[in-house]
Symmetry: C2
């Protein structure tokens, strides 16, 4: 782990952001528990996401189960294709990701895209060994390992279930009903915030690559022929783009261009993806991602998921590495088509025309009294083949005879016997399969990024200080309330104030232990933006020289985290002031 | 399913509260998806819970993984004891809960407390048959079936994991670290809202008994000798109590008594449990539980969990059945003791004395130069036995000789050789194991209760109307915004207003389809408390006779759901007014 990572992980455990789970039993790789500060920070991020991508956009949010039946993942493709390559050490028995063994010990970079056979060859050719015990891995089988956690639903093993590897499938599978809720009007968006699970072979990198994590995904269903995003809302937003072209150029770099320019210049090919990049940039800033450590990177052709036409990742820089925090994918109709093919439902939307349309439709009406005697038991199959043919290739019926194939045998039928004709049909609309644009956020990685980017060190009163410069909306604790000392009634008054502030919906910590300076430092370390101190001036307001207190108003000091500046605020205005500071309706400078 | 249940389930699916998951693949019993209305309702309930049990009480909230390693459940007792009884039909292969088969077909009521052998006998004695196909179940084995979903962590089966059957274990297992966060000061509370899973043999009752559900649990860690709850805060709250005594009496009934009376009269034995019943009563009212369909019921002696000293359930009446929505349990030190015994950690808190205390401590210091020659290879075991004995029973050393037993053999040792003495030791504190008070809420059951209790029918304009009388804080949509018609600019203005209201953090639905009356009905059915309509008066305010509009103020109508009363409100005040109505700071009557 990098020094930055180690420092943050130590702070995270000590101050209650996150820690490896079940430590009393030695811990389990890839599972983390969010402590009191981390759980609240994560909750604040999720609420900010909901506000931006659901409430303000008028989208729907659902909550589907984590355990889903096998049929869903047969359709989605995860059962067959959601694999990593595994190789086991013949000596110590440790399992390793075979592509990582290759990448870590050769100059090969994208080993994931190779076949298992090729990886086995490379291991042999390079005499690669077990990273744990050093035993040679040559001749060990390299196999596909499915990353879904499997379990059984109900008694026995007849009904396998899987922990979903992405929240998206919980949305896609309910599309028929969700479409009803949207009254079959495209476009509409459906969001979900929830757990997803990937049974990583050998998790590493702490909170970045874990086995259980939280996703916030939005599936925006659109009519690809008609719907356009409200691009005007974001066209002036400047995006830091790292396109395929720049990645492949010798001295390629991030380009700072507006959404409009990126579309005009063809850097961004799809308006919907462009819209979401534009919308999201401001949101990352809002939650505290450092824009100097942020970029949008386009997927390289070899990297693109089978379902995606175009895909850009939002990436944050963490200890020198660029880490994906969001994927923006144009998934087309891949998912709905798959579910339609595997289930009894259509997964389409009926799109009403403005006016009914009359179209010519070629049909057949095979004369079974002729076909029966002629083809015997095959007559039914021949009739079906004719029905399929007329939909697929009506031109085949233009001659006097038409030929179809059934189970390898060829049958020739008079077009008259086939009952071929072209009918005029009036249609009020058509069934269309929506396309999907998907912004998919990894919440744990956002938490980690926001913490890493907020981490600051400075000197205050000749002492080294560590603080988290978190936005007040996101900080897990909004206010620390302290009595200068817990005596002479200061403690009682401070506890009363803490209660009052909690009543106003603020996240409050009360602390009366140790020197006041140490209490400030503790709050600095968890990123609490404001601290309120009850002191002797609070009690004796009207006896002091302080102007704010001259009329006997009861006041407290409010200290701002990043600047450590303190100001006196009347107790009567305290809750309102702090709420306004948290919500960004008031700045500390204007106090 | 009851008529009430069927009606609600139909409405829930049609209007997007909840539906059985993966319907396109035939569905899976026990798994439900919350639709757009349901997910938001559930989220609002969770936020109201967090406000009450975490923020306002100053407790901590954490978020632990759903998948936990086997060691945790070996310690907690779930691996051995978290079973239901299963019997399989020899003909159709269906699995059934054996105790349910007995309860449904005999007069036996608490079959769950019987042994598997006894249940098998009862099945045989009563010629009970498979509920699905009617085949006799006599001679079929009745076995324990563990209700945890099992999976494997990482490749192979060497590291089994389980989906947690309660969120509580995720808190208990991290106690050593959580105690640090609380700076080892008792009492402190740790809460968690998250998924829990129980692999029910044959789920029934829709949303009430499911395989995947959400719990909101608070573990309040206390010093049982010193800590007292702030009972004064709740002592005047009236509780509807259904005690063991009343349940066992011939004409026993619910008693309406205050918290203070219940404690004085001994109906409630524990002050902590009493505190949480008092605190929770008001919260149930706040979220819309009908207090005429609500009670607290004490667990009968046979029903009490092995760990619980006393337990009361909050129950709501649903279609004539009483259903548990919360369990209030005094768990003692059961859980922490178990984890301490199974892990390397202590699971205690160091409690500092006000003053150091000097105590007499009996010790031994066996003289091995005597024991060695005398007992040979057993000398070490004898010395250990002496050390154990002096802690357990120091009086045994008062004679000149002392006797210990090792592996069935008896050894006699001089107390002088044992090195017995009584030392004076000064201690600054002691390690104590906290007790736990646990309010445990089933969020899905709360959702169902709130919907069932809010369900109302009446007549409006000679038409039958269905509406959900949900509290504005909890209702999934706060405001419906409609143009009277989508023409003459009314639609544009209504869409603008909808945007503005979303910007103020309100949950808003925009609807311009169909007659205005139908749009009101749709919002009534999902419990939207307020509807805003933009009409011609909005545009032409200053030309009308309406007093509010006489000065040209732009106004809209605001309609209240339950009364269907409409009032005109100035557009400039609209967002503020609606926020105040939602938060309960303003009543519609005072508009």
């Amino acid at each position: 782990m990098s020094e930055e990572g180690a420092r943050l992980t130590e702070l995270a455990k000590r101050r209650g952001f996150f820690l490896q789970s079940s430590g009393a039993y030695g811990g389990v790789a890839g599972f983390y528990t969010y402590g009191p500060q981390g759980a609240t920070l994560k909750d604040n991020l999720e609420n900010a996401w909901r506000d931006r991508y659901v409430t303000r956009e008028g989208h729907m949010e659902i909550s589907a189960p984590d355990v889903m039946p096998e049929a869903v993942f047969e359709a989605s493709g995860h059962l067959d294709g959601f694999d990593d390559m595994i190789v086991e050490c013949p000596e110590c028995g440790a399992s390793h990701r075979a592509d990582h063994v290759v990448e870590d010990n050769t100059s090969i970079e994208e080993a994931e895209s190779f076949s298992t056979d090729r990886i086995a060859e490379i291991i042999e050719e390079n005499d690669l060994v077990c990273p744990d015990c050093g035993t040679e891995l040559a001749d060990q089988p390299v196999e596909d390992f499915n990353l879904m956690f499997e379990t059984n639903i109900g008694p026995g093993s007849s009904s396998p279930g899987y922990l979903r590897p992405e929240t998206a499938q919980g949305i896609f599978v309910e599309f028929p009903q969700l479409s009803e809720y949207a009254r079959n009007q495209l476009p509409f968006g459906v969001a979900q915030i929830g757990k997803a699970y990937r049974n990583e072979i050998s998790p590493r990198k702490g909170l970045i690559r874990v086995r259980e994590f939280t996703q916030a995904e939005l599936e925006h269903f659109i009519d690809p022929e008609e719907d356009e995003p409200p691009i005007a809302r974001v066209e002036d937003v400047t995006l830091p783009l790292y396109s395929v072209e720049q990645q492949q150029a010798d001295d390629g770099d991030i380009q700072e261009v507006t959404v409009r320019e990126a579309l005009e210049e063809g850097i961004l090919a799809d308006e919907w993806v462009a819209f979401y990049l534009g919308l999201s940039k401001g949101w990352y800033e809002r939650i505290g991602v450092d824009m100097d450590r942020f970029r949008f990177r386009q997927h390289l052709p070899g990297e693109l998921a089978h379902y995606a036409a175009d895909c850009w990742d939002a990436e944050s820089e963490l200890a020198g590495d660029w880490v994906e925090i969001t994927g923006f994918a144009y998934r087309g109709d891949y998912d709905l088509k798959k579910h339609a093919a595997h289930s009894e439902e259509e997964f389409t939307v009926f799109k009403q025309y403005d006016e009914p349309v009359t179209v010519e439709r070629p049909t057949v009406d095979p004369d079974m009294s002729v076909l029966g005697p002629e083809f015997g038991g095959d007559a039914g199959a021949v009739a079906e083949a004719l029905e399929e043919l007329v939909e697929r290739e009506p031109d085949a019926f233009e001659d006097t005879e038409v030929t179809v194939e059934v189970d390898g045998d060829t049958y020739t039928v008079d077009t008259e016997t086939a009952g071929y004709s072209v009918e005029e049909v009036t249609e009020s609309g058509e069934h269309i399969r929506p396309h999907v644009v998907e912004p998919s956020f990894g919440v744990g990685r956002l938490v980690y990024t926001v913490l890493a980017h907020a981490y600051e060190e400075d000197e205050v009163d000749d002492e080294q200080r560590t603080y988290l410069s978190l936005p007040p909306e996101i900080a897990p604790t909004t206010v620390g309330v302290f009595p200068l000392m817990d005596k002479d009634g200061l403690g009682e008054r401070a506890r009363e104030l803490a209660e009052e502030l909690r009543g106003a919906g603020l996240e409050v910590t009360y602390d009366d232990s140790g020197a006041i300076g140490r209490r400030y430092r503790r709050q600095d370390e968890v990123g609490t933006p404001f601290c309120v101190t009850v002191d002797y001036e609070t009690q004796e307001g009207n006896e002091t020289q302080d102007a704010a207190d001259a009329d006997g108003t009861e006041t407290v000091t409010v200290r701002e985290r990043d600047t450590t500046t303190q100001k006196r605020v009347a107790v009567d205005d305290l809750a309102e002031t702090l709420v306004a500071l948290r919500d960004g309706d008031l700045s500390f400078d204007d106090l």
